[in-house]
Amino acid sequence: MSDVPVADELGGFRAEVQRFLVSALPPELAARTKAGHTLSRDELMFWHRTLHGRGWVAPGWPTEHGGAGWSILQRHIYDEEAARAGAPSIIPMALTIVGPLLIAHGTDAQRTKYLPRILDGSEIWCQAWSEPEAGSDLASLRCHAERIGDEYVVNGTKIWTTFAQWADRCMLLARTATGDRQQFGITILLIDMKDPGVSIRPLPSLDGMHVLNQVYFDNVRVLVSDRVGPEDEGWGLLKSTVGHERILNADVGRARALLDRLIRTVQANPGAQPGLRSRVARAAIRLRSLEVLVMRALDSPDPANASGASIIKLLGTELQQEASWLMSEALGLYGLPYLPDVMQNGWQNEIPIGPDDAATVTPFYLFWRKASISAGTSEIMRNLIAQQVLGR
């Protein structure tokens, strides 16, 4: 698909990104990513380190903290090119949330202790916010931290914690006080996942893969020096940091990459039905409008607050879901077999069952129903949009 036109001076940047991707991204890894295989931790961390070597692993961080210092537009261009080239999406939590949070609100000691190890990939982070009873209404969270001397003692549970099974550390939202406003009394703590009081229950997802976990905290001790910002006031810090996540969680780049793959799939199946073809075209048309909406949101001074951000999250994820469904339909019956080994490793020595990449498609469709749930559900997005349109 064609690029959205951008200012000339960024043409050079795009070319630089393309050159880097050609030289640094191993073709086998790109092929595996494009075919939708479940990447291993090693593969994800390889790409993390490669980006780190080029100084691009933390595109939005300021340069003095080891980031690339890119503008929001440069990041967008990078996301587009990376998605098109088949670069893996690296494990995002530390880079998109923890790092920016520490840069904005952490102490010097915290930055020195954590940022370099985030950048070089020696520590993986997870984000322990949601709880069984606190989902969309995150501020109702209850996982409890009690201050005892120069430590907090944490008790409670978190759920849907992505990659907790790999994480060395986690960013925890804990309840330290209760008051009239739920938002008050939430404290951000940085936890060592090796603490003996931390235990994990894996929660296999609909595609059979293991991404999600429930995490239990049983008298986990955290030094006060591992608290970010003031006690009880974590919510405000969070609000000021996560806004950007929404627009930059590469929804559009991903939608485009999926549509590209969809179009390849349809082209490889000349028998695809006319109705399917017209729905594919319809999805491509919607992508075109989305591309302009993204450019507009990026051009506005504070993208995090523009109503565009919610619209883009909503439309981008809907489009991804539609593309993944159409891809499954395009495969016909060969979209139906469940072959978990092939999903991970591709076909090795056997004759493939159906088209080479078929095994990853429908499981991805199933798992990707999550796109309209995580990072703010579609209903919450619509509520935000309605609020912006109608007022409270």
């Binding site: 296999p204 609909l206 199946n269 028998g271 109705g275 060969y334 469940y338 159906g354 199933l366 749930i373």
Partner: protein
């Protein structure tokens, strides 16, 4: 034509009996254990289905069945869908058993049907082919040889193949279609078994010069065409009935969830945005039930065109709407529905598979237009 508008007491009794058995023996926890197993090899549940009279529910009394019509199975199949039953009821009893009542060489039918109804054998229809975008295209070759046939070809995504004792194989013989009854362990027949995303078993079947004898003949020429048409219709109807059960179960789970789950200080069922969409899910279930019911009744009609139209209408509509309802069910459950440990995502899986088996919405919309309007 006289058609009752909804199931009477006798039919509701079938539903209730099925619920009683399945809620005991096929709750979600047990189902997961069955799913970890070897795919129905031991067949203990299959024999119990026979004892319950399920296998012969809509098959003639002469063969040991209950002599019911399709409406009895309509009730049962919905329950098998709602409980996500893994046994190959659809592929074995509906897709193969039903056509054999009226089609195929009598000698073979008379032998197979009593065995099927008694739960001693399972059958599977080997119809689809890898390139066969259109299910009417058959390229598997049966070359006459020594009074029998030599088989070369590839059948793809054959539901129930791994556990079947006999396969009903469609092939091309000279310029005609032929249906042969073969055994999976015949020399030159290879099955690559797997599970589908919804947990049911299926497989690829490869024929590399397999030889079968003269008594494997089931039907040839127009008789074979008809047998395959009837089997496809039965498959489509079975998918509809199962999926209506699936979507009702998904709706029921969602209603329960949104009533119990509280966020922002109130039950989710209090948010109007959710209420309207639950209403839409309910409407979709009612519409699907109506179309499925009409299709079930159409089985008793003399006019084959009306029968085709009713089943085509149902398959065209229900496939999609069952999936959409299940997608909504996942959405309203939130993250918990993305886990494999929770039933709602499995409803979606079953709906996805049923939508596509035996032809998707687009194909059956074409069949409908052709049957009703004569549009090509």
């Amino acid at each position: 034509m006289s058609m009752s508008s909804s199931p009477g007491e006798d039919l509701l009794a079938i539903e209730e009996a099925a619920n009683n058995f399945l809620s005991q023996e096929y709750d979600f926890r047990r189902r997961n254990i069955y799913l970890q197993g070897t795919g129905n090899v031991e067949r203990s549940l299959w024999r119990r289905f026979a004892d319950l009279g399920w296998l012969g529910l809509s098959l003639p009394e002469d063969y040991g069945g209950a002599g019911g019509s399709a409406v009895e199975s309509w009730m049962l199949l919905q329950r098998l869908g709602a409980y996500l039953v893994l046994e190959p009821y659809l592929s074995s009893v509906v897709v193969c058993g039903w056509p054999l009542v009226t089609h195929g060489r009598k000698q073979v039918r008379d032998r197979l049907l009593p065995e099927l109804i008694a739960g001693r054998i399972q059958l599977s229809l080997a119809l689809n082919e890898p390139e066969g975008k259109h299910p009417n295209i058959i390229t598997t070759l049966a070359t006459p040889m020594d009074g029998g046939w030599r088989l070369v070809g590839h059948k793809s995504v054959v539901l129930g193949a791994p556990t079947a004792d006999y396969l009903l194989l469609s092939a091309r013989c000279d310029a005609q279609r032929i249906v042969l009854l073969i055994r999976p362990d015949d020399a030159g027949v290879m099955i690559r078994p797997y599970r589908l995303i919804d947990g049911r078993t299926a497989g690829e079947i490869l024929f590399d010069g397999a030889r079968v004898g003269p008594d494997s003949l089931l039907a040839v020429g127009p008789e074979a065409d008809e047998l395959l048409d009837v089997a496809r219709l039965a498959g489509a109807f079975g998918c509809v009935a199962e999926s209506v059960g699936v979507m009702k179960a998904a709706l029921a789970a969602t209603v329960e969830h949104v009533r119990a789950r509280r966020q922002f200080g109130q039950a989710l069922s209090g948010f109007q945005a959710i209420r309207h969409r639950i209403a839409a899910m309910h409407i979709a279930c009612e519409e699907a039930d109506a179309l499925g019911w009409r299709a079930a009744q159409a089985y008793s009609l003399a006019d084959p065109k009306e029968r085709l139209a009713a089943i085509a209408a149902a398959k065209s509509d229900v496939g999609q709407s069952a999936r959409r309802v299940c997608e909504e069910a996942v959405q309203f459950h939130g993250a918990i529905a993305i886990t494999d440990e929770f039933p709602v995502g499995h409803y979606l899986k079953r709906a996805v598979v049923n939508e596509r088996l035996f032809g998707n919405s687009e194909l059956w919309t074409e069949h409908f237009s052709k049957a009703v309007f004569g549009w090509p």
